[in-house]
């Protein structure tokens, strides 16, 4: 069996859809806690259902990732870059799962109802405990900063592969028609 040269089409779709959602989420989260204007309420109302959507998509994406091998990195890529790529990819998976759970957990611990949209209410996943709330709230903040920095590094690395190295790594996540390899047809 040959190693694939591109990501599974569904993986590519999930990657770009979630990229938009996660980047929007990071800016919404940073913005909503930094204003006393009406934007605070409006952004908060988007933040919660968007977070749950990211959690569900992240679970689906992780399952897909474990089932379908991703294309391998170029053989000439320096070891440190290879390690950085692997570590940052798993860090991204961990954070896109952990941040929504932390948000859900911190609201539960703070005794807040977790309301999505107008009427849908999620159950509490932790007991009411203000001390636990404080720890989870700060973990939510600092891990969100870590996710933002990891995203910036990931974006920069993707562009480095696409613009500087031009080694097909960026293309492997782009829509199929940009694929460089000739398509091998049967018989």
């Amino acid at each position: 069996m040959n190693t694939p040269t591109t990501f599974h089409p569904l993986a590519r779709l999930l990657h770009w859809a979630m990229a938009g959602m996660i980047v929007a989420m990071l800016f919404i989260g940073a913005g909503m806690v930094a204003t006393v204007s009406e934007r605070h309420s409006g952004l908060l109302a988007i933040h919660k259902p968007l977070g749950i959507a990211i959690l569900l998509l992240a679970i689906a994406r992780l399952a897909l990732r474990l089932r379908h091998r991703p294309p391998s990195l170029p053989a000439d890529l320096p070891l440190w870059q290879r390690l950085a790529a692997t570590a940052s990819h798993w860090l991204l998976y961990a954070l896109m799962l952990a941040l929504p759970l932390l948000g859900w957990g911190m609201l539960s611990a703070g005794g807040y109802p977790v309301i999505l949209g107008d009427t849908m209410r999620l159950p509490a996943i932790l007991p009411e405990n203000a001390l636990l709330f404080a720890w989870l709230r700060e973990a939510h903040r600092y891990l969100a900063w870590l996710l933002f920095l990891t995203f910036v590094a990931h974006m920069s690395a993707g562009l480095y592969h696409g613009l500087v190295r031009r080694d097909g790594v960026l293309a492997s996540m782009l829509p199929s028609r940009r694929r460089r390899e000739p398509v091998v047809t049967d018989g």
């Binding site: 940073a30 806690v33 006393v36 309420s41 700060e138 562009l159 613009l163």
Partner: protein
Amino acid sequence: MTIRFGHAARWALIGGLACVTVAAFGYVGGWLAPHRLTPQRLVDTFEDNAGLHPGYRRNHAKGVCVAGWFEGNGAAGAYSTAAVFARGRTPVVGRFALPGGNPYAADGSVPIRSMALRFNLPDGGQWRTGMNAMPVFPVSTPQAFYEQARAARPDPATGKPDPARLAAFFAAHPETAAFRAWVKQARPSASYATERYDSINAFYLVDAQGQQRAVRWAMVPQAADAGPGPAGDPDYLARDLQQRLAVGPQRWNLRITFAAPGDPVDDAARPWPSDRRTVDAGTLVIDRMQPQDSGPCRDINYDPTVLPEGIAPSADPLLAARSAAYADSYLRRTAEEAHLPGAARPVPEATR
């Protein structure tokens, strides 16, 4: 040469994009927007005015926990689907307090008291409300509220706000007229139990057909023996409540006032005419109290935008500001209670 230049341009593009992304995040997050009124700056102002009191709320710092229930009479059920308005009991955890960030303020130092309530609805929903014993708010916007707090900063020489600065603030804010007219005749009451507590901000009741009606609500006391507080005693309110509760539960009627067309729904500084239609939705019964450092109200953020189905916030800009600032105050004091790294340590009251 052209290849080298192309290389440099590509590196510049990558670096530039990363820098723009980080700068945009810094702007949105407020770190690169020093003039934006953030919840942190608003709460900092309260700390500046009252000093840092770890573990306490940054505003309405002095208070007591209370508990009881709300006995709905069904009269508001036609206007709102909220289960709290049906006939029957809803458990309540509440708090009486004084405005201001000083947990050791004298009860007679301010003519305003507050009542905060969390109703735990049978369907799992919550209604949180923070009300004040005053009919109208001084200002209409968070920015004006911030400026008022800044103008009220105590003068280090006298320990009291500079009257000239306050006068300048009020002169620059004509919307404070209704509040000033009220506060001129207001006296610190001897009891929490004899006060009427107003929502001040407007909300919408939403009925089963989805129709919205703008309302303000108030807890109207059944106790009729209101009087001025005793002079020379800084802590009479908690003792008065204890004595009253030893005799029996204290009661308030929940009075809902409906706006007429044209009434200001989004401006807490403008009262509605007194002839507006009202509905009494039931009775609040408070039958026990506990100190705030160990009572169940301690860990509740009385964010007035936490509402059940059937009640919705108005576009009053103070509501979003209260939600944002209360969240920041809640995080500060719970972080202090939890001994998070970098948080100040709460001082037990007895050792102070």
